[in-house]
Symmetry: C2
Subunit: 223 residues, 2 copies
């Protein structure tokens, strides 16, 4: 566990820029995964690591200190994993991501999955210097959730609606949920998946792979 002292919020933007430059230089795609607790992020990460780990190097940063299980699960799935503590159980900061990158370290041309912690209000406001932001919602949450977290969806590149395998047992209107999200962010990409069964995950992998390829090509250009 890497513990990082609290930094003034004013410094966060500078550190985020440093992280972004460093990730770009190494051609690493850093994906900041934000969700409410229980949306299935860890299962999503484990399956992604298991399925994509042979294509390119994958590392993971875990912000959740509640369960040491997460780190073990991710390492078992095949990712070098750093667990970080932002100090107050709040969302990750750019400084905590820097510490994690130092510890891992980065694998050039690879994927860095960041399991953010805290609610979708706090995480939305903190720039880590990540390449892309993904919001994970679950079909077990209300379909009006997107309206409650406009800030997170406004800055997100992709919405993953997880736990699609439970839809037959739920009164959940996927169309209404995605409509609420698109009203907040009309350019949001959306995918419906089940990390548990793997259903729909191929589309998420294609989304990731295209961006890993782009990050690599940019690193080559810079180099």
């Amino acid at each position: 566990v890497i513990r990082v002292g609290s930094n003034p919020l004013a410094d966060n933007a500078d550190q985020a820029q440093d992280n972004r430059a460093r990730l770009a230089a190494s051609g690493t795609l850093a994906v900041n995964l934000m969700s409410l607790p229980g949306a299935g992020k860890t299962t999503l990460l484990c399956r992604t690591i298991a399925d994509l780990g042979r294509r390119f190097p994958i590392a993971a940063v875990v912000g959740d200190l509640q369960t040491d299980d997460d780190v073990e699960r991710l390492q078992s799935a095949g990712a070098r994993t750093a667990q970080v503590d932002s100090g107050k159980g709040g969302p990750l900061t750019a400084a905590t991501l820097k510490a994690a990158i130092d510890a891992l370290p980065l694998a050039p041309g690879g994927l860095l999955l960041i399991e953010n912690v805290g609610d979708l209000v706090a995480t939305a406001g903190v720039d880590l210097g990540e390449t892309v932001k993904v919001v994970v919602l679950s079909t077990t949450e209300g379909e009006d959730k997107p309206r409650k977290y406009p800030d997170a969806l406004a800055v997100a590149d992709l919405l993953l609606l997880n736990k699609s395998d439970l839809l037959p047992h739920l009164e959940f209107d996927v169309g209404r949920c995605l409509a609420a999200a698109l009203r907040v962010n009309p350019h949001l990409q959306t995918l419906v998946v089940s990390a548990e069964t793997g259903d729909g995950m191929a589309a998420f992998y294609a989304w990731i792979e295209a961006r890993v390829g782009f990050a690599r090509s940019q690193a080559v250009t810079q180099g």
Copy 2:
């Protein structure tokens, strides 16, 4: 039926620019819907007109001369409709769209739905001057279809995967289909809908409404 003489392809780009300027000035969102035959475009248009017609004025342009039924169905649903003929049963051109706009005419601050005709190869290459391009695929087509029509998907803003109501009866992997589309265009937005049952259509409507709002606001700015 408006018949328009064939124009040299070289003129199409100029006419498309004229159309685009005219649509922008009137604050009209023009949606070019492209698909293979049988993807369910007319049913999609009818439901959209019926559901959104009270929110803002909707007009439709129909390129398919095979069935006069289409015009009647769209007019019954509540849209002023122009049927156009590009001359050879091929895809619409910018000149045919101009003729349709002249005939309708445009309703400022509204929506113009263009039911394009021809296959996804021919339509992809012709700029009409529309505001956005939507590709409609169907679950009754193969899930590898996106690989066969890279040009259409590369220029599309949105992929609608229609006939989701048939999924329980088909061997069709939605994730693999969307993955193939995202490999062609990693920034493509995707939605899974059933125009027949209305399932998922709320998300398409939210996508449309946000863009109608934007088109209106731009027209006001220009005015």
